[in-house]
Amino acid sequence: MDSFKKNDGNRDELIIQQQRDIEKEISDSTPLVGEQLPLTCLWAEYNGDDVFTAKIQDLAKKYKFIRRTRPDGNCFFRAFAYSYMEYLISNNSAYKEFQKLAEDSKDKLVELGFPSFTLEDFHETFMEVIRRVSPDNPGGYNKVQSELHKIFNEQGYSDYVVVYLRLITSGKLQEEAEFYQNFIEGDFTIEEFRHQEVEPMFKESDHIHIIALCAALGAGVRVEYLDRGEGCIVKAHDFPEGTEPTIYLIYRPGHYDILYPN
């Protein structure tokens, strides 16, 4: 009987509620995507710690700015989307290519077994966001960039973009299940992993998410790892290996932000 008593629904609800309150406190104090800041603003966070001071100095040789994202478990997808779209609005031919790929992605996901009825809503919003940041829009780069920033800070649009990228990632895992199964730790099947760790919001991303998303979109991302590890150099990793990156992210344990190279 004891084990049953633990199943008190009201207590569980209270725990879940408390967790929601903590999440809300975080989200109310951090914008979804922040302003561009000098990279050296990171120093303030580490309070003169020797290892981090040296590593940030190293990083500052390569990057001028950082842009923070909200630490809500969606940071990789949000940072990736923002950074990639920033690249696309300055590169008309890449933009056109991506727009086509995004347009076609819905039918592909339906073929892979996603329910078209619920998928449609996310796809439509995703396409609307892409249209709103077209490099052909009047006002030039600055105008479009500020539109991008505005959209990414509107919860509804911003989260729908995250959802759609999660679905694309999940679709890629499904499409090449045999290959990606090798990357999955523990007893998860690809199917379980997609439904538990990829599709739901607020679930943090791992290398496998990055690899699958890059493969699905044909995009390259460089991640700089800032942690307590040995040495005073920040290690970088390119996904997929050997690709010229168009997206630059900084990873600190548990969180991704956007970087701007010199």
């Binding site: 809503d121 679905l167 538990q196």
Partner: protein, 188 residues
């Protein structure tokens, strides 16, 4: 029985067919919740917003699955959608008397699809279907129908019901049949 159900269908669906203003409002809300079920509701289920002023609260009527102790009953329930639906799942609560291993005594439904992974009140199995933004109201209601047909006594929201279902099935069935009569307004 059937005529009762279809009378309710008409009441619930009335706003969808005859009010233009409603459609405009739906568009503003992205249309997501509202259009879902009305296109092609599964057999034995009807659902729709309680009023035109509040699309975030729905009433559903679920027919007890055939060949089970709940057969013949029409069970009313409320669905409450969070402001960030469909990123987070709705909550569901039966508004009639219920006695079932996966329904709390206050009517709250406790099945895995109403929870996101990690949000795990009863320690569901890894493979159990969870909420994600591509799930839908329809999927939830279908899961509730299968829950009525096949209770999961491993995650007991109502411990007494779980034990009785496991050990004294006849007694459980007769309580269920009484609840069925009650939903139809028949003497129990």
């Amino acid at each position: 029985m059937l005529s009762m159900l279809s009378a309710k269908v008409q009441i619930l669906h009335k706003p969808f067919v005859c009010d233009k203003h409603f459609t405009i409002f739906v568009d503003q809300l992205n249309g997501m919740i509202l259009t879902e079920l009305t296109l092609d509701p599964p057999e034995g289920i009807v659902a729709g917003p309680v009023s035109e002023d509040n699309f975030f609260e729905w009433e559903a009527l679920i027919a007890g699955p055939e060949g089970t102790c709940f057969e013949g009953g029409v069970f009313p329930a409320r669905l409450v959608f969070p402001p960030d639906y469909p990123l987070s799942p709705p909550k569901m609560k039966f508004t009639c008397d219920m006695f079932h291993p996966n329904i709390f005594s206050d009517g709250r439904v406790c099945i895995s699809i109403l929870h996101a992974p990690g949000d795990d009140p009863l320690g569901y199995e890894l493979s159990a279907e969870r909420w994600s933004p591509v799930q839908s109201v329809e999927k939830i209601l279908l899961s509730v129908v299968s829950m009525l047909a096949e209770p999961n006594d491993e995650s007991g929201a109502n411990v007494d019901a779980a034990i009785m279902w496991r050990e004294r099935r006849e007694e459980f069935n007769s309580i269920a049949r009484r609840l069925v009569r009650k939903t139809l307004g028949l003497p129990t």
